[in-house]
């Protein structure tokens, strides 16, 4: 765990939230500014992980927040989407991919039953973030994040066992 990054994310979080809130009020955009905040902080995490040179993380994050807000405003829909992890599609033959497609359809139905915030925690984890980093991005405690992820996984496995 990169302690510096965790602190950086926590320090920038309120400034990003303030900028997003300002936009949501001014544009009367419906939705949750928290989605923008998490999206921006995740982008900062990815940029740091990939070694993107950033002179001022705060200025960078505010600029990304503005871009993210405008992007959301143009779409008028929340920014949420996903892709298969690379490791899942490596070496799979056609029949496995067809099965995966069916599995994915069933899985999506099960996932939709989770609250959006909990689903987001699972997605952040699947993206490769540690519990500390997820806590910093979502503004929750590490213990809260861990118990939410654990509860969600216990809940999901019950549904998948019946499929």
């Amino acid at each position: 765990m990169d302690k510096t990054l965790e602190i950086e994310l926590s320090e920038i979080r309120p400034k990003v939230l303030a900028t997003a809130l300002k936009f949501f009020r001014a544009s009367r955009l419906e939705g949750d500014p928290e989605d923008v905040v998490q999206d921006v902080l995740l982008r900062l995490w990815v940029a740091r992980r990939d070694g993107v040179p950033i002179r001022s993380a705060e200025a960078w994050a505010i600029s990304i927040t503005k871009n993210s807000c405008i992007s959301l405003w143009r779409k008028k829909t929340p920014v949420r989407s996903g892709v298969y992890p690379e490791w899942l599609s490596d070496g799979n033959d056609a029949s496995t991919l067809i099965e995966q497609s069916e599995v994915q359809r069933l899985a999506d139905n099960v996932l939709e039953r989770l609250p959006a915030g909990t689903r987001r925690l699972l997605q952040l984890r699947a993206t490769g973030l540690s519990l500390d980093e997820i806590a910093a991005i979502t503004g929750r405690t590490k213990g809260g994040v861990k118990s939410s992820i654990s509860a969600a996984r216990q809940e999901l496995i019950k549904h998948f066992k019946t499929k």
């Binding site: 405008i70 996903g82 099960v110």
Partner: protein, 173 residues
């Protein structure tokens, strides 16, 4: 650690990121052997990493809609207040009649404080006004703010106790 052990840790959210990658990779080589393993496999496929789409370069568009993100107090308050203070000072100087018992002698920088008090008491923001008009009335003056949307707001300020204090009355409905 074997796969069963990893699965228990995974369900309790006690796995590291590396262990979760190992667990996922193990399903690519060894298929799930029972109901629990199959359920975990399905879950791991269902929860996908977040994709971050490209964003537009939209700083300017944002600023047009919301205003600059960094507000410098001097330019939002300092300049208008300085202008207001200068206008009031001009009104006072040109209308001052020493022989009358009228306008008290107030240091110029006190007018800034007066405007701040008007703003504080009335939710009036001089930075939002298109222009400010001052008319001497008796010992005091009437300040009328004209806003871009055509609305106006007027306040009458009269000195009390020889200028030690002021009486502020809003003339708005």
């Amino acid at each position: 650690m074997d796969r069963k052990g990893l699965i228990q840790l995974y369900l309790n959210a006690e796995t590291t990121c590396q262990q979760e990658r190992e667990l996922a990779a193990s399903f690519a080589t060894v298929p799930p052997v029972d109901e629990e393993e199959r359920a975990v496999y399905m879950m791991m496929q269902a929860v996908r990493p977040i994709e971050l789409p490209d964003l537009p370069e939209a700083d300017e568009e944002f600023d047009r809609m919301v205003g600059p993100s960094k507000v410098r107090p001097f330019f939002t308050w300092g300049l208008p207040l300085t202008g207001v203070a200068a206008a009031i000072a001009a009104v006072v100087l040109f209308t001052h009649k020493p022989e009358d018992h009228g306008m008290p002698d107030i240091p110029q920088n006190n007018y800034i404080e007066i405007i701040k008090q008007i703003a504080f008491l009335t939710n009036f923001n001089p930075a939002e006004a298109e222009n400010l008009e001052f008319k001497p009335v008796g010992d005091g003056f009437v300040m009328t703010a004209h806003f871009p949307d055509g609305q106006t707001a007027s306040y009458i300020l009269t000195p009390l106790d020889g200028g030690e204090s002021f009486n502020l009355v809003s003339l708005n409905q």
